[in-house]
């Protein structure tokens, strides 16, 4: 290696470029940090703050700050800090796993439809449209009401009603990419359909799917909160939506019991959306030059 070689500007790796683009978006970076803290709370919070959220610890409706209860107590005299900390875990687990279910179903359906075209596409897209026209909350409620309000069922219910957007995005990307030359080139060097779909086309279709998945986490948390608010939740675990739901009758007398878990949901979902937006900017080459 001589000196001139060192001075050559090396082409940057796409990940480096995406990362730089992401770090320019200050809101997204702050949101990512806050989100990171929330996840830390979800993981370590219950150990660091070992108060059982179901224990009655003080008088009901004690306002925040009184007697050392930072967020106060709810209508049964339970510590709201403990409920928020323990609820974070459930809300985030449901958010992530429902997003995973969504992406899994959506990508499978979209990939098959976009790759095989013909009758496969017709059938799969009609099914997708069928799910799209169902009122989502109602359909999820039916699933949970029928099969019981366990965390697994709630996750599946959220996944089952929200995979359609991912399926449509995946199909559109597959339709675009399958016609590109490197796909024909791979076919010409003997790749089979499975490799073409998941080895060649899918990695190139990922950016919009990643963004959609990130936004899915936020909407899944909201969805879970909505179901809990209506009482369709596992009564043995705390989640933010459940706290709001159980305190909703006292909204006028002790509004803090509802606004505090509400703020937790709001901040988390907002952060996820901002991060998703930042990812969108970073992964979408058309927005890069702005």
């Amino acid at each position: 290696m001589n000196n001139t070689d060192k001075n050559i500007v090396k082409a940057r790796h796409p990940f480096t470029e995406a990362f730089e683009m992401f770090s320019k978006n200050i809101a997204a970076v702050i949101a990512l940090i806050v989100l990171f803290l929330i996840i830390l709370i979800a993981i370590f919070g219950p150990t660091l703050y070992p108060v059982d959220p179901f224990d009655m610890v003080w008088m009901p409706f004690s306002p925040p700050g009184e007697e050392g209860f930072i967020f106060g107590t709810d209508y049964l005299g339970r510590d709201l800090v403990a409920m928020i900390v323990h609820g974070a875990r459930v809300s985030i687990i449901i958010g992530l796993s429902a997003a995973f279910v969504t992406v899994f179903i959506g990508v499978s359906v979209g990939a098959m439809a976009g790759f095989y075209r013909g009758w496969v596409e017709e059938v799969l897209m009609r099914i997708t449209e069928f799910f799209q026209v169902l009122p989502t909350l109602l359909f999820a409620m039916v699933i949970v009401a029928l099969f019981g309000a366990s965390l697994t069922m709630i996750t599946i219910a959220i996944g089952a009603v929200s995979w359609t957007a991912v399926a449509r995005i995946t199909r559109a990307e597959f339709l675009r990419i399958r016609e590109l030359e490197y796909v024909t080139a791979s076919r010409a060097s003997g790749a089979n359909n499975f490799i073409l779909m998941f080895g060649i086309i899918l990695p190139n279709a990922l950016p919009p799917i990643i963004v959609q998945a990130a936004l899915m986490v936020g909407s899944a948390i909201l969805f879970e909160a909505g179901l809990s608010f209506l009482g369709l939740t596992d009564p043995n675990v705390v989640s933010w939506g459940q706290v709001i739901g159980s305190n909703r009758s006292y909204l006028l007398d002790a509004s803090f019991t509802v606004t505090i878990p509400g703020a937790a949901i709001f901040i988390t979902v907002l952060c996820i959306s901002l991060v998703g937006d930042g990812l969108n900017d970073a992964l979408n080459p058309k927005l890069r030059q702005r």
Partner: protein, 330 residues
């Protein structure tokens, strides 16, 4: 004479269009012998690429299909081979490189991964062995510093380098036939010459037969031994390259050759005014007609040309021409 490696007989490829079924390739036959380089020449839309895709079994699904004829490769008819068998042949025994090197490589994998993938799939090499082989291949296609470049992504390479990588992928499994579909159209002239040199050298080393698809007469003269001139899905002339260029039999071939500019300052007998072939290729609708499809653009057209499809006549010992006027215009 040895047996041909690839023997295409009376091939007819049909495309479904809005106006019905059109034969993009009509009654097309040719032989390719081991180690030989032949060239398909013709304007855009003459069915050169369709023939190549037909041989590879890569015709656009639901749109194009082989209607009749046979593609005989080493004793096997590819036109009726199963998908699984075709996948095994593609990339392993017959490879193809494409026109557009900028988009023919997958942007999310390093070039090393893309070369190694083919080796693993067809030759069952281990990860380590395929990687070593990939470095050797990059060296063979004259990419400097292959050890370092192997973990580059396609966007880090120039057009010429990418086409070299494509050639490395195509030749990875030492195929018997390499189909090069306008391999240099997207590259600038100096790089074109390098790529042709490379292909020629690799052909000498490996004995791979090459089918070069092009509309560049210069490329044909440089690369191929025999050329097949195609017009509207039919073969109009076939013969050894030098012979055809010196003494073209078909008016279309003559037109193509007179289109090539020569770098000479003054108009002389050697450099005449640049000719063009007037008109355009007929639309797909007219491809199946029983007439000479070049008739509408031909200055020697006669009644017979419009009514009957010309047969292939021997023009000289090794040259055939499909034109009714072969005798009179010599």
């Amino acid at each position: 004479m040895t047996d041909p490696l690839l023997s295409v007989k009376n091939l007819r490829i049909e495309l479904n269009t809005r106006d019905g079924v059109a034969p993009v390739i009509d009654d097309f036959s040719f032989d390719l012998f081991p180690g030989e380089a032949i060239s398909f020449v013709g304007e855009s839309g003459c069915g050169k690429s369709m023939t190549a895709l037909g041989i590879m079994g890569l015709l656009p699904e639901g749109v194009g299909k082989i209607a009749s004829g046979s593609i005989n490769f080493a004793g096997e008819d590819l036109s009726s081979a199963e998908q699984k068998r075709m996948r095994n042949i593609r990339g392993n025994e017959i490879s193809m490189i494409f026109q557009e090197p900028m988009t023919s490589l997958n942007p999310v994998y390093t070039i090393g991964e893309q070369i190694a993938e083919v080796l693993r799939a067809h030759q069952g090499l281990s990860k380590q062995a395929s990687w070593t082989k990939a470095i050797e291949l990059l060296d063979a296609v004259r990419i400097p510093n292959p050890q370092a470049r192997i973990s580059d992504y396609p966007f880090q390479m120039s057009g010429g380098q990418r086409q070299r990588v494509m050639i490395a992928i195509a030749l990875a499994c030492e195929p018997k036939i390499l189909i090069a579909d306008e391999p240099t159209t997207a590259l600038d002239v100096t790089v074109q010459a390098q790529i042709f040199d490379l292909l020629n050298d690799l052909r000498k080393q490996t004995g791979t037969a090459i089918i070069l698809i092009t509309h560049d007469m210069g490329a044909v003269a440089e690369m191929a031994e025999r050329m097949i001139v195609m017009y509207a899905g039919r073969k109009v002339e076939e013969g050894p390259v030098q012979q055809v260029i010196d003494n073209a039999g078909h008016p279309y071939t003559q037109g193509l050759i007179s289109c090539v500019p020569h770098i000479l300052e003054k108009l002389t007998a050697k450099r005449q005014m640049l000719q063009e072939v007037p008109g355009i290729v007929p639309s797909l609708r007219d491809f199946g007609k029983d007439q000479c499809l070049f008739a509408s653009r031909c200055q020697y057209v006669s009644e017979k040309c419009n009514n009957t499809r010309p047969t292939e006549n021997k023009f000289s010992s090794s040259q055939t021409v499909a034109c009714w006027l072969t005798e009179s215009i010599q």
